[in-house]
């Protein structure tokens, strides 16, 4: 009897939920520009703008990470924790929950759905797969939950997403190299993980400038997988085979590239690369010997921007569907110890964590202070 009653109640409850869900169609598509456009810049002119119904805070936020196992992801998790402890953010966040689901997309979707069912207000994720999330997007929108994929994006226009423009990073690197090398010469390009969209976009952005009319470059291409070890090995090989280069573009693991050049006795040349602390240390140390460097960064701090975007959306502010976060970059003239790199922190620490236009300013010591044993 009790079971029957329970079933009947559950049926009615789910019917009610379904009816309520059918009535809502969140979020609304509205005209731009969005809130704080200097931080939450629309990706391009065609980007739609979303507005959710404003909810009262404080909010429950979940971060559904994929695999945890490289320094970038660990730093990302620490950054999320440090961000919600900041003075302006803490009152808005009732609870932050972080789970790492591994490389299984089904488990990731399940975790997202679970947090929707638990009544969380915002869910931040790095998608394990660019496709297959239609179900959770549908559920999130039905339940007025703000779902924000960042870094690993979804092929969807129905969900608010946050990233840096990888193509623009390639363009930026190419323009900077041309400025310091000239319009011709022999260039080494160290690429990232093959088949990855980030690698493809950075490469295409880079080539679009380098191969434009008026430039005459010989570009040698090797694959370094964004890992210092791999990038060091392939750079050493490239130097052995091709001799001297006039400039280098190393997508990631750039400190390994520089290490290989030093080991081979290759003279310092202009080099554009990622934002590992080690690379910036090398720039600071050897800039006057000719190591002119440009260091841009795909920052683990994107998680903070994503959380902030979700919190703004929950307060009813208009947000672009695809948010382009400004690329944090420094070169040999602006690199400064204790400010945009840290000589006392490990080489694999990712330096860019501060986004002044977004009012997101988490310092490296704040991130490193978040111990692994800390929970919240």
């Amino acid at each position: 009897m009790a079971f029957k009653t329970l079933t009947a109640c559950a049926t009615m409850a789910s019917a009610l939920i379904l009816a309520a869900a059918a009535a809502q169609a969140a979020p609304k598509t509205v005209d731009g520009p969005g809130y704080m456009p200097e931080c939450f810049a629309a990706w391009d002119d065609d980007t739609a703008h979303f507005q959710w119904a404003a909810k009262d805070g404080p909010y429950k936020v979940a971060v559904v990470n994929g695999f945890v196992g490289n320094i970038w992801r660990i730093q990302m998790i620490k950054t999320a924790k440090a961000f919600v402890e900041q003075e302006e953010i803490a009152p808005l966040v009732e609870e932050l929950k972080v789970v790492s689901v591994g490389t299984d997309a089904a488990a990731q979707m399940g975790a997202i759905e679970d947090f929707i069912n638990q009544g969380y207000d915002a869910i931040i994720t790095i998608a394990n797969s660019p496709t297959g999330f239609e179900r959770v997007i549908r559920l999130a929108n039905r339940n007025d939950v703000v779902l924000v994929p960042f870094d690993g994006l979804l092929d969807s226009k129905d969900v608010m997403q946050v990233n840096e423009d990888q193509y623009a990073m390639g363009v930026m690197s190419a323009n900077w190299l041309i400025e310091h090398v000239g319009n011709s010469g022999k260039i080494l390009e160290v690429r990232g993980v093959p088949g990855n969209t980030v690698d493809r976009d950075r490469h295409e952005g880079f080539r679009s400038v380098m191969e434009a009319d008026g430039n005459d470059f010989e570009i040698v291409e090797v694959v370094g997988n964004w890992a210092p070890g791999d990038s060091q090995r392939v750079t050493a090989d490239a130097i052995a085979v091709h001799g001297q280069f006039d400039g280098v573009f190393s997508q990631g693991g750039t400190n390994g590239t520089v290490q290989a050049m030093m080991a081979a006795g290759h003279p310092f040349v202009p080099i554009a690369g990622e934002a590992e602390n080690g690379f910036r240390k090398q720039i600071a140390e050897h800039a006057d010997e000719g190591l002119k460097g440009l260091s841009y960064g795909q920052s683990p701090g994107l998680v903070a921007i994503s959380i902030k975007a979700a919190l703004e959306a929950l307060q009813g502010n208009v947000m672009p569907q695809l948010i382009s976060v400004p690329i944090p970059a420094v070169d040999f003239e602006t690199v400064k110890d204790g400010e945009n790199f840290w000589s006392n922190l490990p080489d694999d620490f990712f330096t860019p964590n501060e986004f002044p236009p977004c009012n997101v300013n988490i310092t490296a010591p704040e991130i490193m202070a978040e111990s692994e044993a800390d929970t919240q």
Binding site: T7, A10, T11, A13, S14, I17, A62, V63, N65, F67, V68, I74, I77, E95, K97, V98, V99, S100, V101, G102, T103, D104, A105, A106, A107, M109, G110, A111, E113, D114, F115, N117, Q118, G119, N128, S129, P130, T131, G132, E134, R135, R138, D155, G195, E372, A373, D374, T375, Q376
Partner: protein
Amino acid sequence: MSAAARFVRYNAGLILAIALFAVIYGTYAVLHPNWGLNVVLQNANESLALIFVGMAQTMAVLVGGLDLSVGPLMTLTNCFGSIVMAGSGGSVLAGVVGALALGAAAGFMNGCVIVYGRIQPIIATLATGAIYLGCALILRPTPGGAVNGDIAWAFTNDLNELGLTFGWWEDLGPIGLLPMQALFLAAVIGLVWFPFRATVLGRGCYAVGSNEQAAYMSGLNVNRSKIAAFTLGGFFAGCAGVYLTLQMGSGNADAPQAAEYTLRSIAAVVIGGTSLFGGTGGVVGTIFGALVLRSITFIFRVIPAGAALSFVADPLLQPLFEGLILLLAVSLGAARVLRVKNRLSLFT
């Protein structure tokens, strides 16, 4: 010995797996702030592909081997399904049947390589697994494919939602709340596994797994049983691939994911009470083994922040604790095997 006592004795592994699942999932359900039918549905959705892959692994383990190709085979059928099923109703059916047939065919190939090539299953399937993953990459170099959203949605929800989506029926009452995943699983178990186990071929798998020489001397066709076991394993992996296609609505030749499913399938088999020595256990236990595995990960989502045990849910410590709980669960499942002096006593 009474019938009940005999049932317990023969199914100790299964009963242990069910008990473990009840404890772990019960904890999750109690801690979940909004536990209800939609959460059950979500959990079922998350678990079914792993259950099928675990069932595929069980077949290899029953005949005394390990199958490292179950994850890649699931990925291959997923990619195949995502290509054929993206279209109208007819091609969805064709995709399902085709993917299942592809799975069975690949399993048959595994069996032939092992039996006629006389190669250890673990090595043979390491190689064929790489082949299947390679084929999957050829079919889907980048993730994609779009299975009809309504079909994908309807077949991964409950019966009512299926009727609502296509206008077949309005509300079936309590029956309508049955998750589709349970129906799929019941269909595969009832229409494929139980009939298979009742045949000479099926019983032969158990005989081969417990003692191949004895099975041969008893006049059983050892080769045929082994090939049948791997073929059925391939079919189960195909079921996983088809369900993943419905669930994701797309295909993705994701190598890390394939590897993760393969490893987890072995854990699911062990927790489910199937001996890694072969010859004892069955796919029903594996279902609960897979559910135990999944429930362990569910728990991390609901541990409240202020609780005494909340350090367990620290994001960076989750893999550690997941591993520890897994080790405990596997040890419980295997304890029975370790305790016996003579393996034969497991069968008495």
